[in-house]
């Protein structure tokens, strides 16, 4: 019997490139665990244990666990950011491949570096990130079929599985019984680097379940986390407390380029138990209670001296600065692959021409809660960081780099918190590294909470941008030529800002050599009007504004935000397309359909035309007073998904106030995984898009950010919410999952500006469409 067991234990089965082995037997329970082996360049596998990767391939980071009680656990590196995707779509996709009910997946572990296998961040969930859970599920299914075949004595190809029960030859066995009393391990091939921004990718090609046989994907399963949030049972990042924890506030520099002259002396009489920490230009105050930390930080700040700095152009001069002073020559110019033909002569020979410039301001991600983190740097050199980040593995890498230690010494655990909209997708939200530096200095766990003005001043912004457009239209009103040149500063600064202030090692900024993303811009907005005979799309990049002249190398740091880059390029393009239609006397929606060739693009436009009740005649009323109505349209292809949007607006001709009455959005993502989740994400994106189009603009002077609260950086309230109508176009035959949410943000601005043109005959080429700007256009 023992010999038999040993024989069985040593047996390894090949499962489409994965290997299934029995590690032993247990008296109770039993499970199939899924670890991974890294694929080397030569295709040979080795286990993660010997790869320099700190994750153990067996436990406890198993990708998927099949338990003896027929329950299933899945682990994903991507943390939830309120989208609920890991708790809905990922469970659905895993359940589909595993052939188990959705409810059988009872546990989802996500976003902790020591408890999840694959890393990466809260972005690109369904297109780029989804293959991991789908393929891991497919490997496990094949392994379970092998086990079922052995157990039932029936060849694999004669088995069928339904609801986690393997049947064949009039016999059947549940997954739970297949793993009962056993320790089974499946090692699946992976490639990539778990510590990088994009994490590990499951390799190989296990057979995937045909989309035509789907029963779980496509249904509206509710987000399991909603209940715990509504009933206040969820542990939020702000609730994290660890034994012996102290509270801290950071006294940030006076400007985005100020160096420390002298830190204010701490009044020990008033704050006997508080400590002052100064490291480079980082001044921290650490106290037993949060209120004492706040008061002591104010006291220290009042007496702290900084150098002055005026290295920014200020918001009033921003676009003049970008056009006349910024260096667009150091980065290579990117030209889109869809560019074609002799644009100069095509424009010259056009009967009607248009030349225009479009401008988008810097925006703030503006999370509802300012960034915070708890760090515990222990005496043995291990570091625990409790936070809310979109990319825990990348943060872990950054923290290890800052401390000059190995990633194996750093653990990042994530908790629910406010949305970041891309700000922390490279790891850092702001407070984490400061908490680590202060914890190391005082030898105790430290909680750093930024105040609202800290968050507006010291976080990154979404890049400002401008685009120059030239259009040619023929006598019939067809586009003959479209040229667009996009200009945008670099937008992926993932440096830990506390480390920058403290003078500790960081990764390079986009301005510096060795940066992963650099300052080059790219053509982010795929062209969808293939019927245009000549096209030139170019993208120009430059350095982050103010960084070079800032003694701190800070200035206006930028970071990707919802539909990054593509938002900045789609607004000018789509508004220009509307203008081109109007120039040729054509209906802007029909104009788009006639210039599109891809049938999915045409279908979303036709869908939104019907769903919105699109009116083909001009909608503006005559007269210069009163309230006018307008309709506008915008379209986009993003991450495998086609979008079309119609905005219905009203314009108060005297006050200049624009109100968005209704947003209609048609979306074709290929396979719709969870209709109600997708609908909710689109609704949210639409509202944020309305907010960006009408209200949002970073105000800054020559020294730094001039907005410090919700009054100086207003965002949409419930009063601004329009009626929202969403049409989901499910196309299982596409066979792919397109991205579902963030593009909705970008659709609003060009659709609203198009509606403004329709209502008033005036073109608003600069965002946001605030009343003063609208009034100036109406008077012109």
């Amino acid at each position: 019997m023992i010999a038999n067991e040993e024989q069985m234990a040593s047996k390894t089965t090949d499962v489409f490139g994965a290997s299934l082995s029995r590690r032993g037997f247990v008296k109770s329970g039993g499970a199939l665990m899924v670890g991974f082996g890294l694929v080397k360049a030569d295709g040979m596998q080795k286990t993660a244990a010997g790869s320099g990767n700190t994750l153990n391939p067996a436990l406890p980071e198993s990708w998927i666990e099949i338990h003896a009680d027929n329950t299933v656990l899945i682990r994903v590196g991507k943390p939830d950011f309120g989208q609920g995707t890991v708790f809905t779509a990922y469970r659905q996709i895993a359940a589909e491949e595993l052939r188990v009910p959705f409810e059988a997946i009872t546990t989802v572990v996500s976003g902790d570096t020591d408890r999840t296998p694959d890393g990466s961040g809260a972005f690109d969930f369904l297109q780029g990130g989804m293959p991991n859970i789908r393929k891991a599920g497919a490997y496990v299914y094949q392994a379970l079929l092998d086990l079922g075949s052995q157990h039932l004595g029936v060849p694999k190809d004669q088995l069928s599985v339904k609801d986690g029960v393997v049947s064949g030859g009039s016999k059947s066995v549940s997954y739970g019984d297949l793993v009962k009393n056993q320790k089974l391990n499946l090692t699946i091939p992976v490639k990539g680097d778990v510590n990088s921004m994009f994490g590990l990718t499951v390799d190989g090609n296990p057979p995937l379940k045909p989309v035509s046989e789907y029963t779980v994907v496509g249904k509206s399963f509710p987000n399991s986390v909603t209940v715990s949030k509504v009933t206040a049972k969820e542990k939020w990042v702000t609730d994290v407390r660890v034994p012996g924890m102290l509270h801290a506030r950071v006294v940030h520099p006076k400007t985005l380029g100020s160096k420390l002259v002298s830190a204010g002396a701490l009044d020990k009489g008033r704050f006997p138990n508080t400590q002052l920490v100064v490291k480079g230009n980082l001044v921290g105050v650490v106290a037993p209670t949060e209120w004492e930390a706040i008061k002591a930080a104010r006291q220290v700040a009042s007496d702290t001296k900084w150098t002055d700095w005026k290295g920014l152009p200020g918001d009033q001069r921003l676009f003049q600065f970008l056009r006349e002073d910024a260096d667009w020559k150091s980065a290579p110019v990117a030209t889109s692959k869809t560019s074609k033909g002799d644009i100069a002569s095509a424009i010259a020979n056009s009967s009607k021409k248009l030349s225009a410039t479009y401008q988008l301001p810097f925006l703030k991600h503006a999370p509802i809660g300012p960034t915070m983190a708890v760090a515990d740097v222990r005496s043995d050199g291990t570091v625990y960081v409790y936070t809310h980040t979109q990319n825990p593995q990348a943060l872990r890498t950054g923290i290890a780099h800052m401390l000059n230690t190995s990633v194996g010494h750093v653990v990042v655990r994530t908790f629910a918190g406010p949305g970041h909209y891309g700000r922390s997708n490279g790891g850092n939200a702001g407070a984490e590294d400061e908490a680590v530096i202060l914890s190391q200095a005082v030898g105790k766990p430290v909680r750093v909470q930024w105040m609202r003005p800290d968050d507006f001043q010291w976080s990154t912004q979404s890049s400002a941008a401008y685009s120059d457009v030239q259009i040619g239209v023929d006598e019939k009103g067809n586009l003959t030529a479209f040229q667009i040149d996009h200009y945008m500063p670099a937008m992926q600064d993932d440096r830990l800002v506390g480390a920058v202030l403290a003078g500790l090692p960081t990764i390079p900024s986009p301005n510096q050599k060795g940066s992963l993303f650099g300052i080059a811009n790219s053509t982010h907005d795929p062209w969808i009007y293939d019927g245009t005979p000549t096209l030139l799309e170019r993208a120009h990049g430059t350095f982050q504004v103010g960084e070079k002249s800032s003694p701190l190398t800070v200035g206006l740091r930028d970071h990707s935000m919802r539909t990054p880059g593509q938002y900045q390029q789609n607004f000018p393009r789509e508004l220009a397309i509307t203008e081109a239609a109007v120039l040729g006397g054509r209906d802007p929606l029909q104009f788009r359909i006639q210039h599109a060739r891809e049938k999915r693009a045409i279908a979303v436009l036709e869908s939104v035309r019907e769903a919105s009740g699109w009116r083909t005649s001009s909608k503006g009323a005559s007269g210069s007073s009163g309230v006018r109505q307008g309709q506008g349209v915008a379209a986009m292809f993003r991450s495998g998904t086609y979008w079309a949007c119609v905005a219905d607006i009203s314009v108060d001709m005297s006050s200049g106030v624009i109100k968005v009455e209704k947003m209609t959005i048609s979306v074709d993502p290929g396979i719709v995984v969870n209709p109600s989740q997708l609908k909710r994400q689109i609704e949210g994106g639409s509202v944020m898009g309305v907010s960006m189009a009408l209200l949002e603009e970073l105000r800054f002077d020559e020294s730094g950010v001039a907005t410090s609260d919700w009054r100086s950086y207003p965002i949409a309230t419930m009063a601004d919410v329009p009626e929202i109508k969403i049409v989901l176009i499910n196309r299982p035959e596409v066979g792919k999952y397109g991205q579902g949410s963030e593009a909705a943000n970008a659709l609003a601005a060009p659709a609203i500006a198009g509606a403004f043109l329709d209502a008033t005959g005036k073109v608003a080429r600069r965002l946001p469409l605030k009343p003063e700007y609208v009034q100036s256009l109406l008077k012109a």
Partner: protein
Amino acid sequence: MMIKATELLERETSPTVAQIKEAFTSGVSPHLCRCGSYRAIIEAVQRAATRMTKRSEA
């Protein structure tokens, strides 16, 4: 959001959309949702109102 919804439903058993918007935007400062989930919140308040009315009638 939860506290404001509770307060509203205690005084209005069947609030209109306009009343809900008023409740969440009046006062010293509006209740802000950066993710733009306002529509879901409006629908949730109305759903809660319907359920609470049914319960009190039963």
